[in-house]
Amino acid sequence: MRAVAGGVRLQGIALLGVVERNTYLVKRYGFWELAFFAWTVANTLTIVFIAKGVEATGGQLDVERQTTILLIGAVLWSYLGIVFEIITETVAWERWEGTIEYTFMAPLSRAVHLLGMGLFAVLYGVLRTAALFLVVAIFFGLEMPDANFTAALVLLAVASVSFVGIGMITAVLPLISPEKGAQLGFMAQGFLLVVSGVYYPVSVLPDWMQALSVISPATYALEGIRAAVLDGAGLGAVWGDLWPLLVLGAVAVPVGLATFRAGERYAKRHGKLKRSG
């Protein structure tokens, strides 16, 4: 019993260790974080201006509503980017620096290692995208009087479980190939969002893409968050989006862990973890 408690304590401390490590990394690259944030703001503005552009060229639309729809899409795009980037690039980074061998030698479980990175990614991602949302909303003077931000945050939190699971899958390639593997995170982000209605309703997609949208957690996150922010939908009203996210999260994390473990076994069998020596 005492051994089990000791083991749980070790894993709990190790989880915080992973969060602590990624916090140091962000701190040490603070200037770059600011630069990337400025780039994300500029990128988001280019998308959100489309609503005003359509109106200016004679299109008939509710600019305020459409601007908010685009903003939510752009913010979720940015959030997914941060989550996938942190999980995937940290593994790539560890491979570059050679620290991955020391992480894999430590007695922390792989689940704790990966979930620690996921936890940091979600916490940091929420902070960054909340700041992005605020900056762009102020820029456009968006008011969103009916918004239910609590429901939106709950949806984002539940969706994040699936995103972390997918991030674990994308983290496999940098384990094997640190030079190019990290790009898989960007690919996953793109593929996931194109079928999920990031800036448009899923109904405009071809049938085969609509079929894929059913298994994408981003579809439900986008629909639910838009309903919460635009129409003030509460948790009961967005249950139709919430339960698929719960199911997808319950599947994505074990699949992500199993995929990463398979990659780790491959790397250990073929001696792919070493950087030098």
Binding site: G6, R9, L10, I13, A14, L16, G17, V18, E20, R21, Y24, L25, R28, Y29, W93, E97, G98, T99, E101, Y102, T103, F104, M105, A106, P107, L108, S109, R265, K268, R269, H270, G271, K272, L273, K274, R275, S276, G277
Partner: protein, 262 residues
């Protein structure tokens, strides 16, 4: 119970050569045992299988055949139990280079279950013990000399109080002073801790000074493992260097192809 018990340990790597996959044998049935508290040195050329042996014992590679046990725990089946007992210093001091020594050690300590209070107390103490200037503990690792980085690597390994310390060429590339300091610290650790040491090196003086027994690993085969005087007697050689040459037919500085070229 032995600290390390290796029996017929085998490891092969495959690599592509002109569209063909070729197999390289890194370890070809290595067997030996290390008693608790003992220090053994394994001599071998680059590519002889030393690093593969260290990586197998630290659960970073999967065994292809035979077995390896650390304090009775099988490295393949009880990897997590082994990881609690083992730490390693390699030729390359691998760190997040923009992070400081204190930050690198702090998160590494957490991975072994050290809480914040214990880490705050232990990190400066261990850095001081390895002769690292504490006023530099907030400087990025990339601003430190190689010797200082290697001291931090030693501190990282000892922070977790390992019962088996695997040293894979820990002094290679260090200036003579840093080399002496690191060697003195290894001796101190042996005197003051219940630590078993497996040292891989191609420094013959280092092997003779630090180890109770010296082994010769050649092309994945362990040719001998005995006290240095016995080794010299066995090969009728006045020095360890000559004993190595007689045993292997080559000088220690000659290189074998990379054992893990994959």
């Amino acid at each position: 119970m032995y600290a390390v018990e290796v029996s017929e340990l085998r490891k092969e790597f495959t690599h592509r050569k002109a569209r063909r996959r070729e197999r390289t044998t890194a370890l070809a049935g290595v067997s030996f045992a290390v008693a608790r508290g003992e220090c053994i040195a394994i001599l071998g050329q680059n590519g002889s299988g030393k690093s593969t042996l260290v990586r197998l014992l630290s659960t970073l590679l999967l065994v292809d055949g035979g077995s390896a046990r650390v304090f009775g725990h099988d490295v393949a089946r009880e990897a997590r139990a082994v990881r609690r007992l083992v730490n390693r210093v390699s030729v390359e001091a691998s760190f997040f280079k923009r992070m400081s020594a204190r930050e690198n050690l702090s998160y590494a300590a957490r991975f072994y279950g050290l809480g914040p209070a214990a880490t705050r107390e232990r990190v400066p103490r261990i850095l001081e013990r390895v002769g690292f200037p504490l006023e530099r503990d907030s400087a990025p690792m990339e601003d430190l000399s190689r010797g200082m980085q290697q001291k931090v690597a030693l501190a990282r390994a000892l922070l977790t109080a390992p019962t088996l310390l695997l040293l894979d060429e820990p002094t290679t590339g260090l200036d003579p002073r840093s080399k002496r300091e690191v060697q003195a610290f290894i001796q101190e650790v042996r005197r003051t801790h219940d630590t078993t040491v497996l040292l891989c090196t191609h420094d013959l003086v280092e092997a003779e000074q630090l180890a109770d027994r010296v082994g010769i690993l050649d092309r994945g085969r362990l040719l001998a493992l005995e006290p240095a005087p016995d080794l010299r007697r066995r090969y009728a050689a006045p020095t360890l260097e000559e004993a190595f040459m007689v045993a292997t037919g080559r000088a220690l500085e000659d290189d074998e192809p990379d054992e893990e070229a994959a």
